[in-house]
Amino acid sequence: MRLVGFGCSFTYGSELQSSDIDSNDHWGNTPHRESNVWLGRLADKLGATFDNRAEPGNSNYAIQYQFADWFNNNRNPSESVVVCVAWTALPRFSWLDDTWTHNGTVRDDQKFLHSRKDWITSNVDHIYWTDAAKLFVNSVCKLYNIPILQFNALGKHKPAHYDNYFLNGLTMESILKDAQQSDDRLDLFASGGHPNKAGHEYFTIRLHDFAKERII
């Protein structure tokens, strides 16, 4: 079984840096990052492999199209997969050329700078894009009998009526913050606000129980 993961930096594994690898060696750190982020930890607990398709700064809008790209171009229908989606913050958007550019990562010298400005001034209610993305991913999975496991990594999401939605209405970030507040011995975040190795493990233990109960 393979877990195919989609999401933002919380799924990418931002700030999961191996102490044995130079912090400038981003690609050399990839195995450490991917094996310690929640997707890799969950795959390990389930005895599965994983395909991590997350991007830092990702939007739910882009997640929809990254999922479609996997489904249309990379999916092997004979392979047993579970689609794993960690939905991200609502006020995000992305633009596509050869790769995705996300509104949080646009810099003054980069393309789509004006698109970002126009988007910020013209979109007040960002819920449309997230609701459309959830409708899309869940409908495709349902129609093609692809098991899905999903939760909110970040953002203010209204409770959704879709299948296998872990901690519906809450977020990975809020769960870890609540855990830290209730037990000051816990240290679940890296300095930049992403879950650290312990944070991913804490969350994955609970997600694993949910996955076993609902899917596996």
Binding site: N72, L96, F112, L113, W119, S122, V124
Partner: protein, 230 residues
């Protein structure tokens, strides 16, 4: 049963007017009744909602469909049948929350001008977005926005099939390639320009006239019966 028509200007019924000297709003009842959605609903003895949006690309068609399903479907007091007229692949759209409608790339002409003054207000907000889209993202029929079209088709087909919502679809405009063997797709390798004759089109406009819409509706009506969609 309510037919929910989604598409571009061909679904909106662009150019159809009881009195061209009157406003767009004045002509709306005539336009919607004589457009293919209205004519098909009449042949089938059903009611209809026309969500056609002049200039929309398949990206906007998919988003308009999602919004209808997410926010409006619960208000329908009857089952629905979704009817989609897919359009050209090389189009993009930008959502204007304040005006509550899209700005479409097809509003601009080849010289980068907006021929319709009424649309300029919204369009001007996205002039720079459009330039960046032209520079970085727009592709031809075979690439670029093809991903947006593929996703829109996958969205509409998956939602309808997974919820047992009858779906009728055809290509109003554009050259189409589909990854999947979608159901109830009338002539998926052609579009209306392949079969509508010159006397079925509005002169110097390219949109179907009343006769053109009758032709489309008749073809779709026969297809609905052949495929037993209802």
């Amino acid at each position: 049963m309510i037919l929910v028509g989604i598409g571009c200007s061909f679904t909106q019924g662009a150019g159809l007017a009881a009195d061209p000297l009157h406003s767009y709003e004045y002509n709306t009842p005539y336009r919607e009744k004589n457009c293919w959605v209205g004519q098909l609903a009449d042949k089938l003895g059903q009611s209809y909602i026309n969500l056609g949006d002049g200039g929309a690309g398949n990206f906007a068609i998919g988003q308009n469909f999602a919004r209808f399903i997410n926010y409006d479907l619960h208000m329908c007091d009857q089952p629905i049948m979704v009817c989609v007229g897919w359009t050209q692949v090389d189009r993009m759209s930008w959502w204007d929350e304040e005006a509550y409608h899209w700005a479409h790339s097809s509003w601009w002409d080849g010289q980068g001008l907006i021929p319709w003054p009424g649309l300029a207000g919204t369009a001007n907000k996205f002039e720079n977005s459009r330039k960046e889209w032209l520079l970085h993202s727009q592709g031809g029929e075979g690439d670029g926005n093809q991903a947006l079209t593929d996703s829109a088709k996958l969205l509409v087909n998956s939602v309808c099939e997974s919820r047992n919502i009858p779906l009728l679809q055809f290509n109003a405009l554009g050259d189409h390639h589909t990854y999947h063997d979608y159901k109830n797709y009338y002539l998926p390798d052609t579009n209306t320009q392949d079969y509508l004759k010159s006397d079925q089109l509005i002169p110097n406009d390219g949109h179907p006239n009343e006769l053109g819409h009758t032709d489309i509706a008749s073809r779709l009506y026969n297809f609905v019966n052949e495929c037993k969609i209802l």
